[in-house]
């Protein structure tokens, strides 16, 4: 039995590796994720990068000399405002414009609330950092003056501030990073499904379409050996795709200016091993599931349609996790795909989860894979599958 499995495996490997286009697409597919990741983070980092001098466009600078001095003291560069500033803000070319009305000075001296206007476009993420910094500067100026006025009247400024809000940010840099990095589990799972897809299709639906399944089953080989040999080929190629994907993510994470975003991801050897221990068992199940679906299909095209639909299902929990992280329970790790996505997230967050979730995840996948392989073997005994051709 073992020798027959090895024979089928060797033949499938040789056959598939000669299919250049399929091998290339299986290897290029997993690179899409790291590429998107790299582009996204580079872009975000350029928006959020701190230390960039704050440029403030001001209209009516002459009406508020002390405010201007305050802003300059705090590192802001004051610039001239072009006439068409509203259009420029809408186009994203200008972050914000501060307008000081002519009666600012009059109100200020009279002790009324003096109004300044901040013209912004809040739908632009890019401008958000500038707006936040400018707003806090303005509030700081206002608070400082208020405190001075109260002192001048012999009142403690504390009386005017009944409640002070101190923000305690529980999100450690690692946690925040993991939220953003949740894109990685999605693409690793994607790689587990993509890598072996073409082999699974070719090995079952392809055999049926070519009319080579009947001659194959004529050999004195138990059907289980045929199925396992083909499955192993699929698993190997899926694992290679996972390796490529993970390697590319590693490169990307080390190149992307993550620290500029104030996030730190755990991507050391232990984390990489943890991810492999999570996703490789998933390849067992993904390959077996694809073999089963592919056996039902009478042609390559038909199988491709089914399997691509199937590919969307495991993407769903990943998307969900990326948007709203949930509190994981132990039983969740048993669910193939979902459990793996949870687990990768936790590995990246640097949480010590122990061996149990890994074990449960692998067991869940192994059980699902065994079920799919058994069903596939049974299907191969059915006359409509052996002889039914497109």
């Amino acid at each position: 039995m073992r020798r027959l499995i090895a024979t089928v495996f060797r033949k499938e490997m040789k056959d598939h590796l000669r299919d250049r286009r399929s091998v290339l697409s299986a290897l290029a597919g997993p690179l899409i994720g790291p590429f998107i990741f790299m582009a996204m983070f580079t872009l975000m980092a350029s928006w959020f990068r701190e230390g960039k001098p704050l440029e403030v466009s001001v209209i009516g600078r002459e009406h508020a000399p002390s405010l201007m001095a305050f802003l300059q003291r705090h590192g802001a560069t004051l610039t001239e405002t072009p006439k068409d500033y509203e259009a420029l803000i809408e186009a994203g070319k200008l972050d914000a414009v501060l307008i000081i009305p002519p009666d600012y000075g009059k109100d200020f001296s009279a002790g009324h609330t003096a109004v300044v206007q901040l013209v912004v476009d809040n739908s632009r993420n890019q401008a958000r950092a500038t707006i936040r910094r400018l707003t806090s500067l303005l509030e700081g100026y206002s608070g400082q003056l208020a405190a001075q006025r109260l002192f001048a009247r012999g009142v403690s400024p504390e009386l005017a501030a009944a409640v002070r809000v101190d923000e305690v940010d529980l999100a450690t840099p690692e946690r925040m990073a993991a939220n953003v990095l949740n894109i990685i589990p999605i693409f690793l799972v994607f790689a587990a499904f993509m890598g072996g897809m073409n082999v699974a299709i070719d090995a079952m639906a392809g055999e049926r379409e070519r009319g080579s399944l009947e001659p194959l089953l004529l050999n004195p080989v138990p059907r289980g050996a045929v199925v396992v040999g083909k499955w192993l080929t699929t698993v190997v190629l899926a694992s290679v795709a996972i390796g490529v994907c993970l390697g590319a993510f590693l490169l990307a994470v080390h190149r992307v200016p993550l620290q500029d975003l104030g996030v730190k991801a755990r991507f050391d050897i232990a984390a990489v091993l943890g991810m492999l221990a999570t996703v490789v068992p998933l390849a067992f199940f993904a390959s077996a599931g694809q073999m089963l679906v592919s056996t039902y299909a009478r042609s390559f095209k038909e199988a491709q349609t089914y399997i691509q639909l199937l590919l969307l299902l495991p993407m769903l929990p990943g998307m969900l996790l990326a948007v709203s992280p949930i509190q994981s329970q132990l039983w969740m790790y048993v669910i193939p795909v979902f459990g793996q996505q949870l687990l990768i997230g936790e590995v990246m967050r640097g949480q010590a989860v122990g061996a149990m979730p890994f074990l449960l995840g692998a067991l869940g996948c192994a059980a699902a894979a065994a079920l799919c392989l058994m069903l596939t073997t049974r299907l191969l005994g059915e006359e409509r599958i052996i002889f039914g051709r497109a």
């Binding site: 024979t7 033949k11 040789k14 000669r18 009319g211 009947e214 001659p215 050999n219 004195p220 002889f387």
Partner: protein
């Protein structure tokens, strides 16, 4: 040696094979002749263990096909209805793969594959990938794959279907040589000339039943017809689908 007793097979409401019995001896070419849809392919499929009979038994070298499918598959070489090849494997690799699945390996497999390449006159295609092979070349590869383990019993389903004259002659030569070596050969055809040219014994099948059996001469005498062609038409009741 093939013995078939009262085989039945239904697919849903359609009865494909209804009480088929015959035997095929070693060193004899037995032809299964009948129009399209007569049940020839289904009968062969039951013999090569991929279809389970509803009733009846079939034995190959004394082994029951339903009880010992793996042993039966070792004892037979089959050219099935489906002759698909792997486009990225060479002719030689096809034969080797089948040989390995039969448990052959090493020098004995190499020697056997070389013999077949010689026998089937396929030296020029031996190391070429199957993609783009002609019908005749594909047939040779399928035959090499079927015969690589040196089976005593050879089952061929419409072996000359779709072949040109030269390839047909090559297949006929092969069948005669296998017969000389004492193999039991059973082949199906809907082409009367084909069967008449090759067979020692003919089993005529129509509508899932055996309607006549015997040597060509016996068939002529039994029906009182001058030519084989008329004899066939007489036993089948119609000449539809029988002529090339």
């Amino acid at each position: 040696m093939i013995e078939v007793r009262n085989l039945h097979k239904r697919f849903g409401a359609v009865t494909a094979v209804e009480d088929v019995s015959f035997s095929a001896a070693d060193g004899v070419v037995t032809g299964l002749l009948g129009p399209n849809g007569a049940g020839k392919t289904t009968t062969l499929r039951m013999l090569y263990t991929l279809v389970k009979p509803d009733r009846g038994t079939a034995r190959i070298d004394g082994l029951d096909v339903a009880e010992h499918p793996l042993d039966v598959r070792r004892a037979i070489g089959v050219l099935p209805d489906a002759r698909g090849l792997y486009p990225r494997l060479t002719a030689r690799e096809h034969a080797r793969y089948a040989g390995e699945l039969h448990g052959l390996s090493g020098p004995s497999l190499d020697k056997r594959v070389d013999e077949l390449i010689e026998l089937l006159d396929m030296k020029d295609i031996a190391n070429r990938r199957a993609e783009g092979f002609s019908q005749g070349e594909r047939m040779k590869v399928a035959l090499a794959r079927a015969l690589v383990h040196g089976p005593r019993n050879v089952l061929l389903d419409e072996p000359t279907n779709g072949l040109d004259v030269m390839s047909t002659r090559a297949v006929r030569t092969l069948i005669r040589r296998l017969k000389e070596q004492g193999h039991c050969i059973l082949f199906s055809s809907h082409v009367m000339q084909e069967v008449a040219a090759l067979c020692d014994r003919i089993v005529v099948v129509a509508r899932g039943r055996v309607v006549a059996e015997g040597t060509p001469d016996e068939l002529r005498i039994r029906t009182g017809k001058e030519s084989l062609e008329e004899a066939f038409v007489a036993v089948i009741g119609t000449d539809q689908g029988l002529m090339q």
